[in-house]
């Protein structure tokens, strides 16, 4: 009896928990992304564009 109750309840509850949890996280992240400051965005998106300042050509002699 115990296992049947647990099993059945789990079946009906888990999909709901899963969906609302995911939906909540999604909404929170969308809100956060939209309200991020423009200056922060500009700084972050420029990070990969920084070039190496020079190259050490003696790498194989180290």
């Amino acid at each position: 009896m115990f296992k049947r109750i647990i099993y059945d309840d789990w079946t009906s509850i888990v999909p709901q928990i899963s969906f609302w949890l995911t939906f909540g996280v999604f909404l929170a992240i969308v809100a956060r992304a939209l309200f991020l400051r423009k200056s922060t965005i500009e700084h972050l998106e420029s990070l990969p564009l920084q070039e190496d300042e020079s190259s050490n050509s003696s790498a194989d002699h180290k």
Partner: protein, 789 residues
């Protein structure tokens, strides 16, 4: 260290030597893995490619009906492991090592750890390349490596993780770029997945039984298997995409905001989707529904990522005509979009009923690995090589040729697999006479129908391999024309603030929004699982903390809006939240299955444990990789029941460590094979399948008639099985095991001799026949006589 009026600066030289080594290793192992793939593709069309061909190419000097180290069942795991862990693994390390140092403006934290990471990983690959063809396997897809190698993988992975997080800790750039988030997700999630799915109890240095069995093992395996695709073949690639695609066109990512949504949605949703590999099976229905729904939800974040990648190329489309790097990146991101469109489509139960166990899935996987991973790797290597050796790319024409050979190869491959999969799926489900009989009752008819397209697949794969070989030559020539160089950067040193920031990082995730969220979720769970007063308490506290959170937010809006910004600066906090996001889905799916779907709780049919000889036969079945072509799961679909018998019940494989439900049927399902055919049929079939099944593409297994069953290992194996909950008698002595083996083997040998098939009782074929004849045996849990066994 240089000094000016206000700040000290220091010149940092990046460790690009590790990047070069990983890149070369990736190209080398890529060639090996893809060559193995082409070989096994041809094996499916020409059974002679399983070893008989050696007789031809040596003009009869080497007599062989089949070579055990070269069969499809043993080489397919080698191909998949080489493609995933050797090719993509090394490529991933190259990309992460290069970009992490630049994004953090710091050298990798420890050269020693980098070297251990590189050489340790290559040692693992060599071990895999030796053990898999030798038949040492755990019998679970993409998790075949034996337990000592598993430990080695875990150690090397943790060393890589330690080096990575140490580097983050030492970084000279405060903010974490989105690419680094994807790397963090990769490291923490793969650690969790790998450890859980590889929990085993050893029976010897080369053999172990997984901790989970039957449906539990199936769920854990595909939670791992699916997320190996997600977090080994996707998230690190996305990190690489977010770094190298902007670099290649020298413009920022299209939308950084979209990348935030992409990351969190992907990490949070991906982990739930594993059960879509087990649709229409005996996996509980609620898990199948969860797997399907979350797979469909994956469409959104995946396409967000694809669009973000493609739109980063805005304003630089003209480069598609001239720059092979941009070509590869544009095609790779497009394949990412196509593969992630197809994946959710295949996860719809109705579509999956047709596609599962067919070549459609194989085509889907290869559009991801060849198109997304392979092309992204090529673009990255062509971009890196001139910079790592301070020279120009040897030949743009060769790179362009690589692109078109690869593109035609992939399209030929994927289109062939679509046609093969849909054709075979439809033929297997086709019925006649008003749906009362199967239209193609002989499985081999459906195989013969797709042979021509299977050949096109092999040709497509060969073209892709040829293109990849051109890249190997091109990169080699490029490296020869230049000198290895390490990039450098000048960074300011701010000694005071560095220490302070480090102290704060550890507790950065303990801020008001996170604490409120944790409290609300906790009390929601109390509400769900509590009764009476506990339930009421849970409801009240959930409401209280929800109202308190809103009030707190209204009072301190400015401070709250900063919390995510702070998170971007703190690697540890970010990692903790990523672990939580990735762990939730797995925990909710696996914990109830592991605690509830046990043999003790099974109602209805339950598997009868194997006799010692049958258990030995099962280990041979696993060792030969039979699961690569034969499933043991009759799905809850009418055509399957008509073809193979009653659908598989959950309890019928509950003692199987590992489960053998399979994922592809090149041959028929074997869940109810026991008693279906005579012992001598199996004897002749294993000796030469075409003698009893004309047109079969299965290899010959002559060595099963020469090698002896390892009976001496059985007492230890049975002991481990007992530890895992399989009801073997406690007082089963070695002598009794031997006596049982001898008795059952003698019966089989006698029945074979009656039909003119002669073999000694200690040979492996006898144990294998014993196992095959046991498949599908069960008892009812209400059967009092059987329960007393």
């Amino acid at each position: 260290m240089n000094t000016n009026n206000n700040t000290h600066t220091t010149t940092i030289e990046y460790d690009d030597d590790s990047v070069r080594k990983f890149m070369i290793a990736s190209i080398f192992w890529g060639l090996v893995g893809m060559s193995a793939g082409v070989l096994i593709a041809f094996q499916l069309n020409y059974w002679q490619m399983n070893g008989k061909f050696l007789e031809w190419i040596t003009f009869g000097w080497l007599k062989s009906e089949g070579v055990e180290f070269l069969t499809f069942g043993r080489l397919r795991p080698l191909h998949t492991n080489a493609a995933i862990f050797a090719f993509v693994g090394n490529m991933m390390f190259a990309g992460i090592y290069y970009s992490t140092q630049r994004l953090c403006r710091v050298r990798m934290a420890s050269d020693l750890l980098s070297k251990i990471n590189f050489w340790g990983w290559q040692f693992i690959i060599v071990c895999a390349a030796i053990t898999l063809p030798a038949g040492f396997t755990r019998g679970k897809e993409y998790a075949e490596l034996i337990w000592p190698i598993n430990i080695l993988v875990a150690v090397i992975w943790l060393i890589f993780g330690a080096n990575f997080f140490w580097t983050l800790g030492k970084r000279n750039e405060k903010s974490l770029y989105v690419g680094l988030w994807f790397y963090i997700a990769t490291i923490v999630t793969i650690t969790m997945l790998y450890v859980v799915n590889h929990l085993s109890i050893p029976t010897s240095f080369t053999h172990s039984y997984p901790l989970f069995g039957g449906v539990q093992d199936a769920l854990v395996q595909w939670w791992y298997g699916h997320n190996a695709v997600a977090f080994f073949l996707t998230t690190p690639m996305l990190g690489i995409m977010y770094y190298f695609v902007p670099k290649s066109v020298n413009r920022p990512v299209y939308s950084y905001r979209l990348s935030i949504i992409h990351f969190w949605s992907l990490v949070f949703i991906y982990i739930w989707a594993g059960p879509h590999h087990l649709l229409n099976t005996s996996l509980p229905e609620w898990l199948q529904s969860l797997g399907m729904i979350f797979s469909l939800m994956l469409w959104a974040p995946s396409w967000a990522g694809m669009l973000n990648g493609l739109l980063t190329l805005r304003g630089a489309w003209d480069k598609l005509l001239t720059d092979p790097i941009v070509k590869f990146f544009a095609a790779a991101v497009t394949f990412y979009g196509m593969a992630t469109f197809e994946g959710p489509l295949l996860s719809i139960k109705a579509v999956n009923a047709l596609s599962h166990y067919t070549d459609w899935t194989v085509g889907h996987v290869h559009s991801g690995t060849l198109g997304w991973n392979g092309f992204l790797a090529a673009g990255m290597f062509y971009w890196l090589a001139p910079r790592l050796w301070n020279t120009k790319l040897y030949s743009n024409a060769m790179a362009n040729a690589h692109f078109w050979l690869g593109m035609v190869g992939i399209l030929l491959y994927v289109a062939s697999m679509w046609v093969a999969g849909i054709t075979q799926g439809l033929m297997l489900s086709a019925t006649a006479e008003g749906g009362t009989i199967l239209q193609y009752p002989n499985f081999l008819d459906t195989l013969q129908a797709i042979r021509p397209v299977m050949l096109f697949r092999a040709i497509g794969g060969s073209l892709y391999l040829l293109g990849f070989a051109l890249m190997a030559i091109n990169i080699w020539k490029t490296a020869r024309s230049g000198n290895p160089v390490n990039g450098t950067v000048e960074v300011p040193v701010d000694e005071d603030s560095h220490q302070t920031a480090g102290d704060k990082r550890f507790f950065a995730f303990l801020n008001a929004p996170v604490i409120y969220a944790l409290l609300i979720v906790t009390f929601m769970l109390v509400t769900i699982f509590g009764e009476g007063a506990v339930f009421l308490f849970g409801v009240l506290m959930t409401i209280f903390f929800s109202v308190a959170a809103i009030a707190h937010f209204e009072v301190s809006k400015a401070a709250w809006s900063e919390w995510y910004g702070k998170l971007l600066d703190h690697g540890f906090a970010f990692s903790v939240l990523t672990i939580i996001a990735a762990a939730i889905g797995g925990a909710i799916q696996i914990i109830p299955t592991v605690t509830m779907q046990r043999a003790d709780n099974i109602e209805g049919r339950i598997q009868i444990p194997y006799t010692p000889l049958e258990l030995a036969g099962r280990d041979i079945y696993v060792s030969e990789g039979c699961y690569n072509c034969h499933s043991q799961m009759i799905r809850t679909l009418v055509p399957e029941v008509m073809r193979y018998g009653d659908y598989s019940h959950l309890g019928e494989s509950i003692y199987n460590h590992p489960f053998q439900w399979g994922s592809k049927r090149t041959g028929p399902d074997l869940a109810r094979e026991g008693g279906l055919r005579s012992n001598d049929w199996h004897y002749w079939h294993m000796l030469n399948p075409r003698d009893v099944s004309p047109g079969s593409n299965m290899p010959n297994y002559p060595w099963l008639f020469e090698k002896e069953t390892k009976v001496s290992q059985l007492p230890r194996k049975i002991n481990v099985m007992r530890m895992l909950g399989v009801p073997y008698p406690i007082d089963l002595s070695e002598e009794e095991i031997q006596a049982q083996v001898d008795e059952q083997a003698a019966e089989i040998v006698a029945s074979l001799a009656e039909k003119g098939a002669f073999v000694e009782p200690e040979k492996e074929i006898v144990a294998l026949i014993a196992y095959l004849q046991k498949l599908g045996s069960y008892r009812e849990t209400t059967d009092e006589v059987a329960t007393a066994e």
